[in-house]
């Protein structure tokens, strides 16, 4: 592995949030004496990212993905732990650091509402001190890649969500950052726009060797863009590795689909350790422990009138759903 560009060690963030019981009485009491609760949003997270890597942060709502991203970009101070990105401590927010990173947020806009995107872009160019020639060149490249030319002179408020998101990407990339943080960049977009943005991000990464850290709830984003994923749940890092390995590590079972000859309406006598997920006329879907799969497959072939059989990894969405719902058990098991 190359020298890591991002180093995260023992990163934790605890928020102090006010809380009170429902009702007017409690509201009045809270005026005088507020009680607080500590929320551990991120707990002891460590990982490295190499230059040019695309890493997907996945996890359910409230898992701590965005909080981690905000600490990496320097928006939040951590409660404990250290982060070094390109030799800088992000939350010192030194201009030299901020010039080399960018953040695109799917639910917040950095465009100026009442004027055309081009004017927002020019202002950003000025803020980031982008030399005019480089500004022109970068803008032309991005506009061509995102097919934005017809939108440049329309006020931003008249653009559709998808068009605006393209503008957000241009705004975030104009100063040619070396590290790009993307927080749910495809949020709320239709399927084809999502696809177009993914293709753009993938191409941009290959062309410019930009490191990207992306959070998304759409697995399609992650599958298309991120060879490596980091799974965070309840603020804890549960998995860090190749996307393909996620199912292997976190879902220690296989799916066996069996097609039976039509004559076999008989009662099933399944071997131990097999869970019947679905039975339809002439087909079975079974779940078995990963290590038992070969033996059980052989057994099924011997005992049932099998006409078709396949052994599969469970779909990634199912694995993740199981982890999201598994809560504490999952943590205990790992």
């Amino acid at each position: 592995m190359l020298e890591p560009q991002i180093v995260v060690r023992g990163l934790s963030k605890t928020y102090r949030v006010p809380e009170r019981n429902p009702g007017v009485g409690a509201a009045l009491r809270s005026l005088i004496q507020r009680s607080y609760r500590s929320v551990e949003a991120v707990r002891d997270v460590s990982f490295n990212v190499a230059a040019g890597e695309v890493v997907g942060f996945i996890g359910p709502n409230g898992a701590g993905k965005t909080t981690t991203l905000k600490m990496l970009s320097g928006l939040l101070h951590p409660t404990a732990g250290e982060v070094v990105v390109m030799g800088e401590v992000p939350w010192e927010r030194r201009p030299a650091y901020l010039r080399r990173i960018s953040m695109v947020l799917g639910n917040k806009s950095q465009m100026l509402w009442d004027i055309p995107p081009l004017d927002s872009f020019r202002l950003l160019g000025e803020i980031y001190s982008v030399p005019p020639a480089q500004f022109r060149e970068t803008l032309d490249e991005l506009v061509a890649l995102l097919e934005l030319a017809p939108l440049l002179s329309k006020p931003v408020r008249t653009l559709s969500l998808g068009e605006r998101m393209k503008c957000e990407l241009v705004a975030g990339l104009l100063h040619r950052p070396a590290v790009l943080f993307l927080d749910e960049p495809t949020l709320g977009l239709d399927v084809s726009t999502q696809g177009r943005l993914r293709r753009f991000l993938g191409a941009y990464n290959r062309r410019n060797d930009v490191t990207m850290i992306l959070t998304s709830h759409y697995m399609a984003d992650v599958v298309a863009l991120c060879p490596r994923v980091i799974l965070i749940h309840h603020g804890i890092l549960l998995y860090d590795g190749e996307l393909d390995g996620l199912a292997h590590t976190l879902a220690p079972f296989k799916l066996i689909r069996v097609g039976l000859s039509s004559a076999s309406q008989c009662a099933l006598d399944l071997p131990g350790g097999v869970e019947l997920l679905q039975r339809t006329n002439g087909s079975l879907a079974l779940r078995v422990a990963r290590e038992l799969a070969p033996r059980i497959t052989a057994q099924l072939l011997n005992t049932l009138p099998v006409v078709d059989l396949s052994v599969e990894d469970p779909p990634i969405e199912a694995v993740i759903d199981q982890i999201y719902q598994g809560d504490g058990d999952q943590e205990a098991r790992l």
């Binding site: 101070h77 201009p95 004027i115």
Partner: protein
């Protein structure tokens, strides 16, 4: 240089924004004229009865009104719109778009203070200047060069005080992001229309030392009218410097509290 170029870019953007809403121009002009009209009318009524109030003659009071209008105009021109974008339920801090301000490789306080301009406030600026000029002409031969210099220096100090007070009030949003603290300032700023000396003792103390809006207009007007002591000149400069540093410190402390709105 970079910061000056940035200010120019912000003004460019502001002009485009302002031109997008044409009707605002006329409403703004009407507002300025009304503001000026009521101010002058009140003085006319007052000074038709008496020659001077506690040592304040009509020309000196006009100088004070001019200073008040000028400061109000500067506030509307950029300090107010920039800082007010932080606060309130649709403010950047509440909504979380302040994230982007923090991510810029530019001093955050500078960016938060100069990024939104209201070009129509230039009208107010002109009206304030006209009133000041009228006051100067009425002061006539009594006006020496040194008074004009003192006036410019104290006016700059007043701008610094105005900015510092607004920054301090705005910094409070980091502790309570939903509230608009500037309304409190507005109420106090209204009192700067008249010389501090006209108010009862306790209020005079508040307007001089606690929330020194009084100093902002009274001192420059006195400078122009020729009644300014060296002590007051240095005092207002010291106050401006102290408040500016204090407000900046408060703003920086507030920044550290910013937790960024959740996704």
């Amino acid at each position: 240089m970079h910061y000056l170029r940035l200010i120019r870019s912000f003004i460019d953007v502001a002009f485009q924004n302002a031109l997008a809403y044409r009707i605002n121009f006329w409403v703004s002009l009407l507002h300025s004229i009304l503001d000026l009209g009521t101010g002058i009318l009140a003085l006319m009524v007052l000074f038709s009865q008496v020659e001077a109030i506690r040592g304040w003659t009509l020309p000196a009071t006009l100088a004070l009104l001019g200073t008040y209008l000028l400061l109000g105009a500067l506030r509307r021109l950029f300090i107010g719109p920039s800082l007010e974008a932080l606060a309130g339920m649709d403010g950047e801090i509440w909504v979380g778009t302040f994230d982007f301000t923090l991510l810029r490789p530019v001093n955050v306080q500078f960016l938060a203070s100069v990024r939104t301009w209201q070009p129509l406030a230039v009208l107010d600026l002109l009206l304030g200047a006209v009133v000041l000029l009228t006051a100067s002409l009425r002061l006539g031969r009594a006006l020496a060069l040194v008074q004009v210099l003192y006036f410019i220096v104290t006016l700059l100090a007043a701008v610094a005080i105005l900015y510092a007070l607004l920054l301090a009030f705005s910094a409070l949003v980091f502790w309570s992001p939903g509230l608009l603290f500037t309304w409190l300032f507005n109420a106090l700023f209204q009192m700067a229309r008249y010389p501090v000396g006209l108010y009862p003792g306790w209020l005079r103390l508040v307007l001089t030392w606690v929330v020194p809006v009084g100093v902002m207009t009274t001192v420059p007007a006195q400078a122009l009218a020729g009644g300014l002591s060296l002590g007051m000149l240095l005092g207002s400069l010291g106050l401006a410097g102290g408040l500016f540093c204090g407000a900046s410190l408060l703003f920086r402390t507030g920044l550290r509290r910013y937790a960024s709105a959740s996704s």
